[in-house]
């Protein structure tokens, strides 16, 4: 596929165009005020003038904010108290545990955040190393590099439901990478993994484990993966497991209903999560925690880099650790638990509402990601900021997603479907059984199942209310 860009990018002026119709002060032609474009022409502009553009831009985002359903980012936070930090460039270049002559740093906050995560994942302070990253991809870049440096000729195994960054990284690192099938749930298929491991017994295994896949929110079965490694003769010194916990890695430990346990008491090498997903943060960031002994190997091996730089990006945000620290301190454990439960409960609500409306949907047991047929209209997809992949779309029920938003969404989807299907007489619900399982599919073929389910559900509701 070719990347290209238009000669003159319409995006550049789109905000101002939107503003000119909706928000007049800056752009009201004829009142003698100059319409300010985003194009940078080299003139100097006043703070007041630029502030107006920002105000308009923020206003233009509001409608999107009110229908923001498709991405696993938490848009419900308040960092007002941190605004004074905007006056400084803070930089945690290098190793957070060793300080730096870049004295305008926030490594104290960073270490505090790292210790919290180390504790969450059961690893002693003197046995781990980690840092606050620029996001999930950097966490994967770091974890998989540790794996590769440990096993230079190792094969990377990742399920087909892994985040695309994993395959990008394999290419960047020139690692042999084998894609493993996924189950309908989105979990790694350990039967397939077993066959692949047996066929490649001569090379160490580097496993990317998904703690919440991107599209279906499936949590790979860590115990079964470890069992599979043992059964195929991979001893502890011949495999490395990196856990990509982008969204769900931090939600999982706080589930009321239990769920699989991700911990360094199991033979894993590294875990990463995104900071801007569940926790919520203005800028993308994340946390990676790894066993210290792997870092030592990395440092020894990469002789060229400065003594204490075992990070990917070198210069690192000093603000991100403070956002995370503030967030964790403000929420407290109880706050996190409540938010997790709320997301899970609302996700179940959405799944039920869709089911009641005859729309097939899937929700994994340990997940806040509801998967359903991809809406037929791109405008609808964009209006609700849905993320799609092939025949399916998903809603990730985050903290800012209210019951009211979900109700509006379902009502609008139901209404639009009737129009879409009317326009296209033959086509009814798409069959997405291959993606979500026959039991969750509402196509003509699988609808009977849905009806039975639906009836059962209605019956249950009646019983509960009696």
């Amino acid at each position: 596929m070719e990347n290209s860009r238009p000669n003159d990018t319409p995006l550049v002026t789109s905000i101002i165009h939107a503003a000119s119709s909706e928000l007049s002060p800056i752009s009201n032609a004829g009142n003698g005020r100059q319409i300010m474009k985003l194009v940078i022409n080299g003139d100097s502009h006043t703070q007041a003038h630029l502030g107006q553009v920002i105000t308009h831009y923020l206003a233009s985002l509001q409608p999107h904010r009110q229908r923001f359903l498709g991405y696993p980012t938490n848009e419900e936070f308040n960092y007002e108290a941190l605004a004074p930090l905007l006056h400084l460039h803070l930089n945690n270049a290098g190793d957070p545990f060793h300080g730096s002559s870049f004295t305008l740093n926030s490594t104290s906050f960073e270490v505090s955040v790292l210790d919290w995560f180390a504790n969450l994942w059961d690893i002693e302070k003197n046995e781990y190393w980690g840092y606050v990253t620029t996001g999930g991809t950097e966490g994967n870049l770091h974890g998989l590099l540790l794996g590769r440096e440990q096993f230079p000729d190792g094969i990377l195994y990742a399920s087909q439901d892994s985040h695309y960054s994993v395959f990008k990284i394999a290419r960047m690192y020139r690692m042999q990478c084998i894609k493993v099938s996924s189950l309908i749930s989105g979990q790694i298929d350990c039967h397939h993994l077993k066959a692949l491991l047996l066929a490649n017994k001569h090379k160490p295994a580097i496993i990317n484990l998904n703690i919440g896949t991107t599209m279906k929110g499936a949590v790979d079965d860590i115990d079964l993966v470890i069992k599979t490694l043992h059964e195929t003769g991979f001893s502890r010194d011949r495999f490395y497991i990196h856990c990509d916990g982008a969204l769900f890695g931090i939600m999982l430990p706080f589930l009321k209903s239990g769920g699989p346990k991700i911990t360094f008491k199991k033979p894993i090498g590294s875990i990463t999560i995104s900071g801007h997903k569940f926790l919520g943060c203005p800028i993308p960031c994340g946390v990676v925690i790894a066993r210290l002994n792997y870092i030592n190997a990395l440092s020894r091996d990469i002789g060229y880099i400065a003594s204490r730089d075992a990070t990917i990006t070198g210069s690192r945000s000093g603000h991100a650790p403070i956002f995370l620290w503030y967030n964790l301190q403000k929420k407290g454990i109880m706050g996190i638990k409540n938010e997790v439960e709320n997301c899970i409960r609302n996700a179940r609500y959405l799944k039920d509402q869709l089911g009641d409306a005859g729309i097939g949907a899937m929700l994994n047991e340990f997940s806040n990601t509801v998967v359903f047929e991809k809406p037929l209209d791109d405008e609808f997809v964009s209006r609700w900021s849905l993320a799609c992949n092939g025949n399916i779309a998903h809603v990730v029920v985050m903290q800012h997603v209210t019951i009211q938003m979900l109700d509006s969404f379902v009502a609008e989807l139901v209404h639009n479907r009737s129009i879409w299907f009317q326009q296209d007489g033959i086509r009814k619900s798409l069959c997405i059984a291959d993606d979500v399982g026959a039991v969750n599919c509402s196509c003509a073929l699988h609808k009977a199942n849905m009806d039975i389910q639906s009836n059962n559900y209605a019956l249950q509701q009646i019983k509960q209310n009696v």
Copy 2:
């Protein structure tokens, strides 16, 4: 070298300890108020409580801010008008030119910033691609990946004065990397480069060119490098040049005194600069601009990645492009020119002051980085946030560095040297001729030269004042 971390990290509580002696409200023991630690214990804390910690933290940074001389980050900016942006997570995931269903983005601002840089470096809108990165390292990760994908068996040539990330990246990417000698100035030694190219004619060349080296601020001679490639038989289709312009890449075009021209009219593939260095930005960020045809090759080759992701990090800050846009709009071309000239002028002032005080120092013609002997006392180094390498240290004269700061610095350095040298009877000025050249060295052996220079300088001053 072993990475390790203390069992209980003293850093975690250092701010609060500092605060307890200097800034009493939170930590004044005995008044019944709890001393708040940075450690996250799982309780929930109020915004007011946390806000106090932030206030103390910011106060603890002020002394560092007032003596921040060693790093090329601009600490003189005002983004007050952007504080409302802290209420949203913005994400420019993917390709800035193609939009995204992640509707809470700032790609319009990003494209505007990219167009400005493309114009600065003479490349047409339909011939370039680029994005706002997380900093200089990601810019290098991107540029060097383009080079490697263009020439999978190419050899990376980088001068020994290149940023450490370049060598780290070579290792990450499993690229053959040859270190080229540098001249005293810090520029790449083209005689050595020539010999290396001749010895490796069978493999394409990927050149990392420094537009301002990290330690000495030396601008590699781009024309001489291109001439060297031609002379050694490397035709245009057998080399790739990536320009690492971290700090000086954006200053160079605005020098009153001219200087070498970095432009896409010359056969280069990519340029990157850091956004938090000259421009000034709270968070690390940067810009990379590359020829579009290289991006197309990258996209074709990496089949796995999502259609429009040719970036390293995937999820990308939506705030960083707005910071850059705001900064460029506020400064305007004249503002940038004035700031560049001011930095250069103040750097010359520092160099002269050091010279007058008998302290050998080097300042490249096109640079704001003053290099001198590494101070003997680590406390002094830390007090002024100096960056050191081997026998040398440097001051990077950025926008926040005033004449008053420089005067205080020189006075304190002179005073401390007299103490250091008194304590160590034998030792006088370190010989740093190998690092800065005999003419800039003030050791006993080379001092005679300094004295002559010093006298000439005094004479000049008298003449000017007459």
